[in-house]
Amino acid sequence: MPRVFIPPPMRSLTEGEEVVEVGGTNLRQVIENLEQRFPGIKERLCQEEEIRPGLAVDIGGSVATLGMLQRTAPDAEIHFLPAIGGG
């Protein structure tokens, strides 16, 4: 199952868990399943069913470019990070 790394401000929702294993073959499923287990988490990550602007999701070392549709490999690590712009 993908391993989701929980940013510190959300750990109050995960009872302090820093890494959560949760099923799903794309990001939408992963976030829905997270929400099932830890209600309130989706609102922190999403706005109108899309990833919040300003937030980047790193899946298996690559920044997700397909948003909620991005595939999540069974062994993937998922990180929520500040979005990065370049010069």
């Binding site: 940013p7 401000p9 602007p53 790193d58 920044v63 470019t65 500040p82 712009g85 370049g86």
Partner: protein, 757 residues
């Protein structure tokens, strides 16, 4: 320097003359300010003389009455935006802030903040009209220091900003507004246990001043709002699609009503992404019915575009006596400027990114102050933190008596290492760049002479992928016309054309690249993040593959064989029984075999691995004046695969010299009223060619597996190491450690005198 098993390329790695070269050495190339349209009016902008004030009233009547004035606009002419956050390709923007930055609404938040604009028959009339606009202000105390801005007593700039974080609960609208727009926290391992294992711990505080990208071409925009509602924008920009979206959102018109025609662009470095002039010129055009051109003055470019933040940082590192890093901690506050949006996120993610740090904690703050809203500048945020970390690394090396190159190699980030912010590195080239420096003639050469010193430092940038599109049409003479949408700041169209040529087996000269407007080419994200040669390159390669597929079908038709029996390689088609058609031969047969062949390609999923660089510098310090001369400079960088080595070298050299400027003399110098007192090239001192030596480059090639030819972006990384490398060299020369950028003569002299007494 290349890896041993480097693939054989025909075009990649050669140095053709760039396709836009002839126009640029003869003065024919058209940049934004060169646009001239029939009936065009010239605009001028009224800007705030105050750093922080409420606007009580604006009276434009006298300006409107001046002969030759055709239109006047204020923020009242732009639609209300409400609380909308919009993703703009390379970052999200709060539209309320974006529109207020374009034309102040209710408040001015920095000196130079645009308030109103005029379009007139010529620039002189427009400038006279500006003086006739009367604005009544209620002055507010300016907030200029990042730490003071964070205190509870500080005046608050924006009444709609509350602290946000990744994954934080949305703040209640009833809570008190603050200047701290963002707060990020990253943790890895056990920080206390880590420091407990350390034999040596160093902790220092660092300050850096706000600095500007300093591109030589001022911002510009020429806009015509036609009677059918179609708006055409000509300008120099790093992203025509981003300008289209920002302009449409700011004017609240459909994206399809805005066409952006990118001109040649005179430098950007991250500063020509945000929109300042197009919506204003658009409204002036709508009101006057004529095309309107706006061009910023150099002073406005400094005062009112998007420099990179000043910062205050506290960084602590611990290592064992045998030279292993065990823990690191960083506290970083960035001046966002008037509105949120500093690169504090990447700064937090970069601060320890060069190293395998088992235990780390990084906290960062994005803080509003009465200075222009900051924007991206070459590896945004990474140079600040490299200055801190890389000088601490050398301090540790001195304490435990280990060569700074060896220490870096021993602790380098490499494949499989987890960054403090979480992700794990794929194949990267940090070790290779330090080794390249360690083995360089420069590093091995003895440095003699009084008050001379040598320093090294490393730097990191992520490099991004994002979205690109390209199309390519085969011409009957066996050449290809390539159309892509990445505005070309430094020769990228040639780098992209070379990848297409390589994929088709033709020469770079046989490809004619054009940067298209937003109506003629598929969506491309901005030219930034060192992404264009990578991602638009992939799109061009995909277009080449699409051409190959179509040509295979044509050849199969000509030879009357099944397409599966035809292949494309070495610049031609191969069929059964030795049948062969060169690219040129098949190109000549297109008209009779079904007409045009147009290849299309996009790139959206590929994201780059990071890039590293390590620099070595020799300096000489005039200890009586505190002035530093750069004697020798060598920069090594992992470029994956260098497509056009001359332009790879050029990026590294240019980035290094920008970093030298940042290190020694560049700064926004504010008086207590919040006025930038050095908003000219005379007193904002970017290096001249008399300030720097030749910049030697070592191209390290550790191919990025995510790109067919192994490209890694080049542009960002070279600005990161210079300030730290120079600080380390200054220490080697005169024994003082500098923690404050720029390391200008008065500051360095004060430290030298302190040490002597």
């Amino acid at each position: 320097m290349a890896t041993a098993d480097k693939p054989k390329y025909k075009v990649i790695g050669t140095r053709p003359v760039r396709h836009d070269g002839a126009d640029k050495v003869t003065g024919r190339a058209k940049y934004g300010a060169d646009i001239k349209l029939t009936g065009m009016l010239y605009g001028a902008t009224l800007r705030s003389p105050h750093a922080h004030a409420k606007i009580k009233s604006i009276d434009t009547s006298k300006a409107e009455a001046l002969a030759g004035v055709r239109a006047v606009v204020t923020s009242a002419d732009l639609p209300e935006q409400g609380d909308r956050i919009v993703e703009l390709g390379e970052g999200a923007a709060n539209m309320r802030h974006l529109t207020a930055n374009v034309l102040a609404r209710g408040k001015v938040l920095y000196k130079g903040h645009a308030i109103a604009a005029v379009a007139a028959d010529n620039i002189h009339i427009a400038e006279e009209a500006i003086k006739l606009i009367k604005v009544e202000y209620e002055l507010l105390p300016p907030v200029l220091d990042v730490r003071k801005a964070m205190s509870a007593e500080s005046p608050v700039l924006n009444d709609d900003i509350r602290t946000e974080s990744v994954g934080s609960a949305p703040a209640s609208k009833d809570s008190k507004p603050t200047n701290i727009a963002k707060h990020f926290l990253f943790e890895k391992g056990d920080i206390a246990a880590g420091f407990a294992k350390a034999d040596v711990i160093v902790e220092r505080e660092f300050d850096t001043s706000m600095v500007h990208q300093g591109y030589i071409e001022p911002h510009n925009a020429t806009v015509f709002w036609n009677t059918d509602g179609k708006i055409t924008v000509w300008l120099s920009t790093q992203g025509s699609f981003s300008v289209r979206q920002q302009t449409a959102e700011l004017l609240k018109v459909a994206i399809s009503n805005v066409k952006v025609v990118p001109t040649e662009i005179g430098g950007g470095f991250g500063g020509k992404i945000s929109v300042y002039l197009p919506p204003v010129a658009a409204m002036l055009s709508k009101k006057s019915g004529r095309p309107v051109k706006l061009v910023m003055s150099r002073t406005s470019v400094f005062e009112a575009t998007g420099p990179t933040p000043g910062s205050h940082m506290k960084v602590k590192l611990g290592a064992t006596k045998d030279g292993k890093l065990v823990a690191g901690e960083a506290w970083i506050a960035f001046e966002a400027g008037a509105y949120t949006g500093s690169p504090i996120g990447p700064a937090c993610m970069c601060v320890f990114a060069c190293y395998d740090l088992p235990n780390g904690r990084v906290e960062g703050f994005d803080v509003c102050v009465n200075k222009p809203r900051t924007n991206a500048y070459r590896a945004p945020g990474s140079t600040h933190v490299a200055f801190a970390t890389e000088t601490l690394i050398n301090e540790i090396c001195e304490k435990i008596d280990i060569d700074p190159a060896d220490f870096r190699i021993k602790n380098a980030a490499k494949e499989g290492v987890r960054r403090v912010d979480g992700p794990v590195y794929a194949r990267v080239g940090m070790v290779e760049t330090v080794e390249a420096i360690k083995n360089s003639e420069h590093y091995k050469a003895p440095l003699e002479g009084k008050h001379r010193g040598r320093g090294i430092a490393s730097g990191f940038w992520f490099n991004c992928g994002l979205k690109s599109a390209a199309s390519a049409t085969v011409n009957p003479d066996g050449t290809v016309s390539l159309l892509e949408g990445s505005t070309d700041i430094g020769g990228s169209r040639t780098g992209i054309a070379m990848q297409l040529a390589e994929a088709l087996g033709i020469t770079a000269e046989e490809v004619t690249p054009t940067v298209g407007d937003t109506d003629s080419v598929g969506y491309c994200d901005v030219t930034g993040g060192s992404r264009v040669t990578f991602a638009t390159g992939i799109a061009a390669i995909e277009a080449a593959k699409d051409i190959q597929r179509q040509l295979i079908a044509r050849a199969a038709m000509i030879w009357d064989v099944d397409a599966s029996k035809v292949s494309y390689s070495d610049g031609g088609l191969h069929g059964p029984a030795g049948k062969h058609l060169s690219f040129k031969e098949i190109a000549a047969k297109l008209h009779g075999t079904g007409g045009a062949v147009i290849g299309r390609g996009t790139s959206s999923e590929a994201t780059q691995g990071g890039a590293f660089g390590t620099h070595c510098v020799d300096v000489e310090v005039d200890v009586d004046l505190g002035k530093v001369q750069i004697l020798r400079y060598t920069a090594a960088q992992d470029c994956g695969t260098a497509i056009h080595p001359s332009y790879v070298e050029g990026q590294i050299q240019g980035g290094a010299v920008q970093g030298i400027g940042w290190a020694l003399n560049e700064e926004y110098w504010y008086d207590e009223k919040g006025e930038m007192r050095n908003a000219t090239y005379l007193d904002y001192r970017i290096p001249t060619c008399y300030d720097v030596p030749m910049i030697d480059t070592i191209i390290v090639e550790v191919p990025d597996p995510q790109h067919p030819y192994g490209v890694r972006g080049v542009g960002e990384v070279p600005i990161c190491p210079p300030p730290a490398a120079i600080a380390n060299a200054i220490y080697d020369a005169v024994g003082v450690r500098m923690h404050d950028l720029p390391m200008s003569p008065p500051k360095l002299l004060a430290e030298i005198l302190k040490k002597e007494s």
